[in-house]
Each structure stands twice: as structure tokens, then as C-alpha cells.
Amino acid sequence: MQLIHPVQVQIRLNALRDQDVFIHLEMTSGAYAAHNDSSKHPSATFITNARIRYAHGSIEGAGPYRVGLKTENGWVYSEGLTHWDENDTERLILAGHDAQGKLVVALQLSRQPF
């Protein structure tokens, strides 16, 4: 994974719009959040291989980045993205890692299921 290059990510977002794509969207505090620090609240959610179609999508901010995808009836939103896989030319793999390197958030788009 490399640090996000927003211009390149925007090009990929444009290439995947107006078609059915599979999305993996995730946010997690980690299953051990409360075990490690009782003031923390463990929470996590993910949806994998849901189909969406967006007419417009963009990456915003100065890093960590935000991505918003405007779908027919709503939105997909993700904040805190820091890394992407520049070598994956078919799919868009975005993730946000915290200061310890742990994954906090992920947004992935692909024409094929993950």
C-alpha cells in the first residue's frame, strides 16, 4: 500500500462510475478496543460485495482524504483514507491507517466481487 495520490485516485473513481460495481466499505475500532483501554468502545461495521452504481464520485481533502460517491438514491461516504494500492489497476483499494499502522477504514470498488 502506498500513500494516496489523490489525482490518480480521482482518475480511477471516474473510470468506475455509471456502471454496476461491487463495494467493500468498512470501519472498525478493532475487537480489542475495550480490552486494551476500558474507556474505548469497540465498534466495527462492514458490508462486502454490495452492488452500487454512482454517477459522480470524488476524493477531497488534504489528507487524510474523504471520498463521496453520489448514487441514484443516496450517498456512499468515507473519511480518514490514507493509503491505496497503486499497483491494482482493475480495482480501487483505499484504506485509512492510524498512527500505529492499524486499519481503521476501508473503501474498495471493483467490477468483480471481492
Partner: protein, 212 residues
């Protein structure tokens, strides 16, 4: 067969900190170990430092890491059970138990290692331990293997007391540290002196499960 050990844990690396030294010791003493790992830990948050894996590639890395860990420990038989990380508690219990029963009938272990349900922090740990206990509890008493459970929740001592089995694994620290290091996407071993390493990793503790 009394010398057969069956390990049932949900994630690659669950064996590393709490069990790898004990397994290496048993293997040295002639045991044959089957390790059924339920998932590939594909929802793990650690991707290496700096991150070299991502959500898509993580299971591939973790499978290789698990295989390396097993080689280091000397585990003869690794089974990847194909479940998805974070979902064990939602699986159909009858189907999950049936697969565990198949393993028990095939391996005929004298000892089974798993997590202590309710005292193992991660929902997958608790659900895995619960499935193992449920399945073994249904066996006739004389057919039940010894079940040794790993517990590490903060409330465990008030609830279930102190572990009754303590294993000195200091002679097997090489295998244990090798197992931990094999999981390089997940852990970085701190720089410690040999004495500090022994203090931190030299003992493994288990609760023998008491079937009522």
C-alpha cells in the same frame, strides 16, 4: 489416540502467544498435532508496518504466515476450515458443530486446545470455544478428550479462578518466537533481553474445562 492433539482456533496467530511453546514441547515428546484454523483472519486491522497488505491481499499473506508458524512449531497437520473472520458467532451452530465432530472422530485426540468460551475477549474466540465445548459435551463421558482452554479476559480470575495448567516453555522459546515472528503482518517483537523474553513468554497457562 492419547498422543494426538487437536487445536481449534479461529485466527492465524491465535496459536502464537498462548500455545506455540506448549505445542512445540508436546511435539518434541512425540505428539502429533492437527491444527484446525477456522478463518484466515481476513478482517485483521494490522497490515504490517509499514502496511504491505490490504483488505484484498491480507488473507493470502496470513495463510503463508500461518504455514510458516506451523513449520516453526513442528505442527504436522494444518487444516484451513474456510470460515470468514468475525462471522463464527453467526454461523449455523449445527453445521459448525458437525464439522468439529468430524475432526474429533478423525483425529481422536487425547487433548484438545481451544479458547475458553466467555473469557477470550474476541467474539470469534468465544464462539469457537463454545462450539468445541458444545460438541465435546455431547460425547459419552468416556470418549471425551481433555480440553485445555485459553482465557485472557480481564474478569477471568473472579469468574473461573486461576488456570490449573502451567507449562514452562522456556526451552522452546526459539519455536515460540519463531511462531510470533512468522505472523509478520500482525506483530513486531519488541527488542528485549533474553531474561525479559523468558519473563514475558516463558510460561503458558490453560484451564482444563470441567464438563458438568
Amino acid at each position: 489416540m492419547a498422543n494426538n492433539i487437536l487445536v481449534i482456533l479461529p485466527h492465524p496467530d491465535d496459536e502464537a502467544f498462548g500455545l506455540s511453546g506448549t505445542l512445540a514441547k508436546s511435539i518434541r515428546e512425540g505428539a502429533r498435532v492437527t491444527y484446525a484454523c477456522l478463518t484466515l483472519g481476513e478482517m485483521g486491522r494490522n497490515m504490517g508496518v509499514p502496511p504491505f497488505a490490504n483488505r484484498v491481499t491480507l488473507p493470502r499473506f496470513r495463510k503463508l504466515e500461518l504455514e510458516e508458524s506451523c513449520r516453526t512449531i513442528g505442527i504436522q497437520d494444518l487444516r484451513l476450515m474456510g470460515y470468514h473472520d468475525k462471522t463464527i458467532e453467526f454461523e449455523d451452530k449445527d453445521k459448525l458443530d458437525a464439522r468439529i465432530l468430524e475432526l474429533l472422530e478423525e483425529v481422536r485426540p487425547g487433548t484438545v486446545y481451544t479458547f475458553y468460551p466467555g473469557y477470550a475477549v474476541h467474539p470469534d474466540h468465544d464462539a469457537t470455544g463454545a462450539a468445541v465445548i458444545r460438541t465435546i459435551a455431547r460425547l459419552a463421558q468416556e470418549r471425551r478428550p481433555i480440553v485445555r482452554c485459553i482465557a485472557f479476559s480481564k474478569n477471568r480470575e473472579e469468574a473461573i479462578g486461576l488456570p490449573d495448567v502451567k507449562v514452562d516453555v522456556r526451552p522452546f522459546l526459539k519455536q515460540k518466537l519463531g511462531s510470533i515472528q512468522a505472523h509478520r503482518s500482525q506483530f513486531q517483537i519488541p527488542k528485549l533481553s533474553p531474561t525479559e523474553l523468558e519473563d514475558r513468554f516463558g510460561t503458558e497457562s490453560f484451564y482444563t474445562y470441567k464438563f458438568s
